[in-house]
């Protein structure tokens, strides 16, 4: 039930994170987006550089946009026994398995890095892509995180050391589709906000398809035989719109001190845990 209150000296919580991401080619300049009432120009060849906005479709509070944890049978993932056991050990503070704010063990709530693929699957905001001759940089608004995708023809390492964001290589599937493979991700991260698990054997495929000059689509496929009996598509052609070159990307940071203050004022009292 909603409640209307009239207050003097509004005690708002600072809106931080309290509510609780081919082969070598020459660098390409970022180009301006088309005017609003103008039909988009054709996609440039082998170019996904620019500042891209997925709109609210990238927020994904219940899990990936195409596979949210909402209790619907069509969104039930093909868990292995280990996958189900690991899922049940994860206590998200959103979705159908949501626990109270003070009881979650979501690592991102505690300001751990999202890692891959969660950087694509939760709070995916304005994203900048920079192409250089040997690698592609992806710069994310959430956490001010950047990733490197190697495009110098190397293979993924056979036994990669674990990293929060794994180890990524990219190739052009055709002139408008850039495919990134990622391995070696840290097992401590969750796949998404809903607590879907992954193992060190996880492989993530990201397919960036430039539809036209102003539109980029992202498809993300999860493949982890230890946790899932078959690959599943987390994002299916999530559209991004190209922003003007002078677009100023905001910052979106997780602050441990803000989180402590949030729990003291809101999270713990709301969870019946006192003001600690």
């Amino acid at each position: 039930m909603l409640r209307h209150i009239l207050i003097a000296a509004l005690a708002l919580i600072p809106p931080g994170m309290l509510a609780s991401p081919a082969h070598a080619q020459a660098a390409l300049p970022q180009q301006p987006a088309s005017a609003p009432n103008q039909k988009a120009a054709p996609a440039p060849r082998r170019d996904i550089s620019g500042t891209w906005d997925p709109g609210n479709g990238g927020i994904q509070p219940l899990g990936p946009r195409n596979m949210p944890e909402d209790g619907k049978p069509e969104h039930q993932l093909p868990y292995t026994p280990l996958g189900l056991e690991t899922l049940n050990a994860h206590k998200p503070s959103n979705g159908v398995r949501s626990v109270l704010p003070g009881e979650t063990n979501d690592p991102v709530v505690y300001c751990d890095p999202q890692g891959m693929p969660r950087e694509d699957l939760y709070e995916l905001r304005t994203t900048q892509i920079i192409q250089t001759p040997l690698k592609v940089f992806v710069l994310y608004e959430f956490g001010k995180i950047w990733r490197v995708v190697w495009t110098d023809g190397r293979d993924l390492p056979k036994e990669p050391e674990p990293r929060w964001f794994g180890y990524s290589i990219g190739k052009w599937e055709d002139d408008y589709t850039f495919v990134v493979e990622t391995a070696g991700t840290d097992e401590r991260t969750w796949v998404d906000r809903a607590g879907r698990p992954h193992s060190a054997d996880l492989r993530v495929e990201e397919k960036f398809h430039r539809v036209d000059h102003d539109t980029l689509e992202l498809t993300v496929t999860i493949n982890d035989p230890k946790m899932y009996t078959k690959p599943w598509v987390a994002l299916d052609k999530l559209p991004f719109k190209l922003q003007p070159p002078n677009f100023d990307v905001r910052e979106m940071m997780c602050s441990p001190s803000e989180f402590a203050e949030y729990n003291k004022i809101i999270g713990n009292p709301a969870s019946g845990q006192g003001n600690k």
Binding site: M1, L2, R3, H4, I5, L6, I7, A8, A9, L10, A11, L12, I13, P15, G16, M17, L18, A19, S20, N56, G57, I59, P61, R125, E141, R250, E251, M252, Y262, I265, I266, P269, A270, G272
Partner: protein, 70 residues
């Protein structure tokens, strides 16, 4: 706010993150201490004066929404 008996009750209310709030028209000058505003909140279930803001109506009638539509 004042409760039914006239006692002042302090509420704590949360919003979304800065990116969302700026998109919804909020800024650091939207409020200052002492402003009288009307706040609609979704309260927590245990009855404490805590909640999530749905919207704020400023003294001049301006409405600031606080919920993002996915």
């Amino acid at each position: 706010m004042k409760d039914d008996k006239g006692n002042v009750v302090h509420w704590a209310a949360e919003t979304s993150n800065p990116s969302d709030m700026v998109n919804l028209g909020w800024n650091k000058q939207s409020f200052k201490p002492g402003d009288e505003v009307t706040v609609t909140v979704e309260p927590v279930k245990n009855g404490l004066p805590i909640g999530r803001i749905e919207q704020v109506v400023l003294a001049n009638g301006q409405i600031l929404k606080a919920r993002v539509v996915f």
